[in-house]
C-alpha cells in the first residue's frame, strides 16, 4: 500500500512537469495548427541554462526558471520568425506538414549546436534542496520534487491567468478559435504567433530546469521529453489546454504505477500501447474538440 501511494506521489510530481512541458505544444497547435518539434530542444536548452546558473552562478531554482523562461522565449520568437513565418499562407503548400518538418530541422540543428558548444558529456545538475518530507509512514517525497512540483503548478496557474484574463492572453485563444474575426478586431496575428511560440518555448525551458536534476543534461536531453510531450498532447486531444493538463497527470501516474508493478522498462511500451487504444476508441483524444474550437 505504501509503495502504491509512494508511486502516486511521484506520478503527480512527474505529471506536473509533463503538463508544463506539453501545454506549449498545445498552444502552438491551437494557434498555428502545426506540431512544434522544437519543444524538446527547449527542454534541453532549459537544462543547460539550469546547469549554467546553478553551477556557475549559484542561483536558486526560481531565478533559474526565470532565466530559462527568458532564454526559451527568445528562442521561440526567433524560431517562429525564421522557420515558421515564411511558410504561413504559401499557396499550394501544406503548412502543417512543412512547418512540422522545418521545426524538426531546427531541433536537429539545435542539438548539434549544443553538442558543439558543450560536448557530448552529460552535465549533472545537483538537486537544489536536499532531504525528504515524510508524509505518512513509509511515504516520503524529496523536498526537491516538492519544490519542482510547486514551480510547475505555479507556472500552470500563471499561464491560466494569463490566457483567461489578459489582453494578449485572450488574443491567443481568439486567434486559435477564429482567425478572421480576431484580425477584424485588430488583433495582430503575427505578434500573437510570436507570443505563442515565445510562451510555449519558455514553458518547455522551465520544464527543462525542473527535469535537469532528474536526468543529466546532454545535447539530446530533449529527445525523450519531445516524445513524451507528443504522447501527452495527442492523448489530451491536440489543441485542448485542459485536456493536455489532465493527460499529463494521467500519464505521469500511469508511468509511475507501471514502473512500480512491471518495472521501468515497460513504462514506454505500455504508454504507446495505451495511446494506440485511446486513438482507436477516441481519435480526438481525451478532451479533443472539433476543428473550429481550439484552446
Amino acid at each position: 500500500m505504501s509503495a502504491f501511494l509512494q508511486a502516486v506521489v511521484s506520478g503527480l510530481v512527474t505529471g506536473s512537469i509533463y503538463a508544463v512541458m506539453t501545454v506549449g505544444m498545445t498552444l502552438i497547435y491551437g494557434t498555428l495548427r502545426t506540431l512544434n518539434m522544437t519543444q524538446g530542444s527547449m527542454v534541453m536548452i532549459g537544462g543547460y541554462v539550469a546547469w549554467m546558473v546553478f553551477d556557475g552562478l549559484g542561483w536558486g531554482p526560481i531565478l533559474g526558471g526565470v532565466a530559462a523562461a527568458v532564454v526559451g522565449f527568445a528562442f521561440g520568437v526567433a524560431i517562429q520568425q525564421a522557420a515558421i513565418r515564411p511558410l504561413i499562407g504559401r499557396r499550394g503548400v501544406d503548412f502543417e506538414m512543412t512547418a512540422f518538418i522545418s521545426t524538426f530541422a531546427v531541433a536537429i540543428v539545435l542539438s548539434n549546436v549544443a553538442l558543439r558548444i558543450y560536448g557530448a558529456r552529460s552535465k549533472a545538475v545537483p538537486p537544489v534542496i536536499h532531504g525528504r518530507l515524510h508524509l505518512l509512514e513509509g511515504i516520503s517525497v524529496s523536498w526537491h520534487s516538492l519544490v519542482m512540483a510547486g514551480i510547475a503548478v505555479g507556472t500552470l496557474l500563471a499561464l491560466g491567468g494569463f490566457l483567461s484574463k489578459t489582453r494578449y492572453g485572450l488574443a491567443i485563444s481568439a486567434v486559435a478559435q477564429q482567425l478572421d474575426a480576431a484580425r477584424l478586431m485588430g488583433i495582430p496575428a503575427q505578434r500573437v504567433y510570436n507570443l505563442t511560440m515565445g510562451v510555449s518555448s519558455a514553458l518547455a525551458a522551465i520544464a527543462g530546469v525542473l527535469l535537469a536534476s532528474v536526468f543529466f543534461v546532454s545535447p539530446n536531453a530533449g529527445d525523450l521529453p519531445l516524445l513524451k510531450a507528443l504522447i501527452v498532447a495527442i492523448f489530451g486531444g491536440l489543441g485542448s489546454v485542459r485536456g493536455t493538463i489532465l493527460a499529463a497527470y494521467i500519464i505521469g501516474l500511469a508511468e509511475a504505477l507501471v514502473s512500480l508493478y512491471f518495472g521501468v522498462k515497460w513504462s514506454l511500451p505500455l504508454l504507446f500501447l495505451s495511446i494506440m487504444i485511446v486513438m482507436l476508441v477516441r481519435p480526438t483524444g481525451l478532451l479533443g474538440k472539433p476543428e473550429e474550437a481550439r484552446l
Binding site: 478559435q177 477564429q178 478572421d180 480576431a182 484580425r183 477584424l184 478586431m185 485588430g186 488583433i187
Partner: protein, 234 residues
C-alpha cells in the same frame, strides 16, 4: 470616409469583383443590395483586407488601405461585422465582447463599453458567462453586433444581418440596427433582401455579377418598377 475605385478581387481564377466604385461619406448610411454569390460579402472582405485586391484602390479616412493587413485596417477604425458572425465559440459571451475592445484605447474603457452593449442587448447580459457555442442563431447575431460596438468605429460594416434567421428574429435584429443608425454612425450595410432596408433613409447600390448596376436613394429605387420586380418580386 471610404472611397473604393475600380475594385477588382478574385478567388483563384474566379473573378468576383469587376470594377466596383463605391463611396461612403462621413455620417452616411449606404446599403449594398444584391443576389447571393454576386460579390457583396467579398466586397466587404476586400475592404477590410481579408481578401486581397487584384486591381483598384481603397481609401479610408484619407489614406490608401488596399494591401494592408486586416488588423492594421481594423486599428484605423474600421469595424466589420462579418457574415456568419464568426464568434469565438469556446469563449464566454463576455470574453467575446471584451475582445471586441482589443485596441489599446478601447481596452482601457472596456468596462464602460461592456455596460453600454449590455444595455442595448440585455439578452447578452443574461448569458454573459455562457460559452458562445451554446447560443442560438439569433443570440449569435446579437453577440456579433455587440462585439462590433465594443470599440469606436469610424465606419461600421455589417454583412447581411438577416442571414439564416427566423423572420421574428430578423425584425428584432433590425430594431437594433435602427438604434445603431440613430446614433449617426457611418454605416455600410450589405443585404440580399431589399424589404429589410426599405424603411431606412439610405443610399442604395445594386451589386450584380461583381458590378454596381444601379445606385440611388431608397425612395428612388422603390419608385423603379424594374428594380422592384427584381428585388421584391412585386
Amino acid at each position: 470616409m471610404l472611397e473604393v475605385r475600380n475594385l477588382n478581387a478574385a478567388y483563384g481564377q474566379t473573378r468576383v469583383l469587376e470594377g466596383v466604385d463605391l463611396t461612403v461619406a462621413a455620417g452616411e448610411f449606404v446599403v449594398v443590395i444584391g443576389p447571393n454569390g454576386h460579390g457583396k460579402t467579398t466586397l466587404l472582405r476586400t475592404i477590410s483586407g481579408l481578401v486581397p485586391t487584384t486591381a483598384g484602390e481603397i481609401t479610408f479616412d484619407g489614406e490608401r488601405i488596399d494591401g494592408e493587413r486586416p488588423e492594421r485596417i481594423a486599428m484605423r477604425g474600421l469595424v466589420h461585422i462579418p457574415q456568419g458572425d464568426l464568434p469565438f465559440v469556446d469563449m464566454t459571451v463576455e470574453e467575446n465582447l471584451v475582445l471586441g475592445a482589443f485596441p489599446a484605447d478601447a481596452w482601457r474603457i472596456r468596462a464602460e463599453r461592456l455596460e453600454r452593449v449590455y444595455g442595448i442587448f440585455p439578452l447578452l447580459a443574461d448569458r454573459r458567462s455562457n460559452r458562445a457555442r451554446t447560443l442560438s442563431g439569433g443570440e449569435r447575431r446579437m453577440l456579433a453586433l455587440g462585439r462590433g460596438l465594443m470599440r469606436e468605429a469610424k465606419l461600421l460594416m455589417i454583412d447581411e444581418p438577416s442571414l439564416g434567421l427566423a423572420p421574428v428574429i430578423v425584425n428584432e435584429v433590425y430594431q437594433h440596427i435602427e438604434q445603431i443608425v440613430a446614433t449617426g454612425i457611418t454605416l455600410l450595410l450589405v443585404e440580399e433582401n431589399f424589404s429589410h432596408v426599405q424603411t431606412f433613409d439610405a443610399r442604395v447600390l445594386l451589386l450584380e455579377s461583381g458590378r454596381v448596376v444601379r445606385e440611388g436613394l431608397v425612395g428612388d429605387l422603390l419608385a423603379d418598377e424594374i428594380v422592384m420586380a427584381t428585388y421584391l418580386g412585386t
